[in-house]
């Protein structure tokens, strides 16, 4: 790894990291501030939800929920935090190499006396550090929110930690798939449509997977691999699905390296 590239890459992303961290934390606090309402009126809430079609509840992951417990409530809205983190990770993945090419700075970087493998590793580490920083911010916010809004209710710390740490693998998936796709297409003009597409696409797959029951869409979407409700209800990760997730991530990363090392950097035209 090259320290200078790492530092440069990290600093370039720092504003984005702050923005994402604040957004994730804000979302977390807003959701959690309604906890007392849900907890107090759990019975009424359940009655209301019974009137909704079952498919709709499954689609939004709202079946089998215990809104009056801390973890039950978190698992209900954690999906939205995952969605934000997925978009962020996708952004970093799709943009890791392609931004240098659209902004034509690739010529500068790749004519330095550093191998491409080293450049990619340095960039990768900087992006991972950026995501980890967002995670740390989110974890701190989560514990702060719990201490403010949980009204002293008990919860299983191990399960919560499992849920919170699972986001790292979750983000890696979107990051590495984004990186690979960005190297497969000829030119990424703008990163956001790609990352939004990947994040919402995966989410929709996960939602439909619930609706159609038999269709095995859960194999390919991280929203199923790391379904909060599953983690909370079983107090464990869904090991086979997590393994699938890790395998896809590793394949995407290896493919990303191979594609980058063999890539032609075209002149400005």
């Amino acid at each position: 790894m090259d320290k200078m590239i790492f530092k440069h890459e990290f600093l370039i992303r720092i504003k984005s990291v702050i923005t994402w961290s604040l957004s994730v934390s804000a979302l977390l606090f807003v959701f959690f501030s309604f906890f007392s309402v849900f907890a107090d009126q759990a019975e009424m809430m359940n009655q209301m939800l019974e009137k909704f079609p079952k498919e709709l509840l499954i689609a939004f992951g709202m079946n089998n929920m215990n809104y009056h417990t801390v973890l039950g409530y978190i698992s209900f809205y954690f999906l939205f935090i995952q969605l934000l983190l997925a978009i962020q990770a996708g952004n970093y993945g799709f943009g890791l190499v392609s931004i240098e090419e659209t902004e034509m700075t690739a010529d500068f970087l790749l004519t330095r006396p550093v191998s491409r493998a080293k450049i990619l590793t340095s960039k990768l580490m900087a992006a991972l550090a950026s995501m980890l920083l967002t995670d740390i911010f989110m974890w701190i916010s989560m514990f702060t929110a719990i201490s403010i809004f949980s009204e002293g209710k008990d919860y299983d710390m191990a399960t919560l930690l499992l849920l919170l740490f699972s986001v790292i693998l979750f983000q890696l998936f979107f990051f590495s798939v984004g990186l690979m796709v960005s190297l497969l297409v000829k030119r990424v003009r703008s990163v956001t449509p790609y990352s939004l597409g990947l994040a919402f696409g995966s989410y929709v797959l996960s939602a439909f997977s619930g609706v159609f029951g038999d269709v095995k869409l859960e194999y390919i979407t991280p929203f199923k691999h790391f379904e909060p409700a599953y983690i909370v209800n079983n107090r464990a990760l869904n090991t086979p699905l997590v393994l699938i997730n890790v395998v896809i991530t590793v394949i995407a990363l290896v493919a990303g390296y191979w594609l980058y090392l063999h890539r032609d950097i075209h002149a400005v035209s």
Partner: protein, 290 residues
Amino acid sequence: MSVIEVSHLTKFYGKSRGIVDVSFNVEEGEIFGFIGPNGAGKSTTIRLLLSLIHPTSGTGKVFGLDVTKHGPEIRRSIGYLPSEVFYYEGMKVIDLLKYSASFYEGNFTERMKYLSELMELEMNRRISDLSFGNKKKVGIVQGLLHNPKLLFLDEPTSGLDPLMQRKFFDLIREENKRGVTVFFSSHILGEVQRLCNRVGIIREGSMVEISDIRSLQQNNYKKISVTASGLTPEFFDTPGVTNVQTENGSVNFFFKGDINAMVQKVSSLKLDDVTIEEPTLEEIFMHYYE
């Protein structure tokens, strides 16, 4: 010693041609001109040697090392000035130069100061606020900063005003005197003529001529203009004559071959006027492109 050795180098972008079977050598300490119109393959050749793109076939060696295998090692001693300069927009000039210098071993503070003062570069401005010409100056300083042994200049003068161009040429000559080899790509012949020892002419992806710049001018072609009454262009329809044109009653052409035979032929005419001169590089060049 050859600093650059290119052997049967070929690059296709899918089905479209980059360069085909290009071979040439550049010797240590020379300024090698690489001329050709836009799209002839000049940038492709340079980008192959910088390992920004990968060859379809053939080999390129710099400092005796294969460019596909030893890229990082080779690039330690290379300076590159692209035709259009792009840097991280948010950075200040000074920060970019420091970032660039950090990739090389040594302290370049003094040299940075010297070069930026010479090129009249404002170090504290943001890259995004710079004009095209000023970005080019950053490119020049950045390319020369780490004392490279080999310089790749790809259309280096576009965007520079004449005064800066002259300073730039002086700088390149000065570097060359210190032993730096220069690979100078351009489509402007005047500047190649001013600066280079040897030229390679590339056309539609193939090298058509590699020659000493003097012999290119002196030994090859004469530009002859003949004015005589009743003279038709057909009179000069002999081997070695090309580019016959009639203008204001005089016949102009290029001639390559035994000059005695031509003088005899001309002397059989009743002349009003005759001139025999060296063609400019420009004219030689046009000739290759017909």
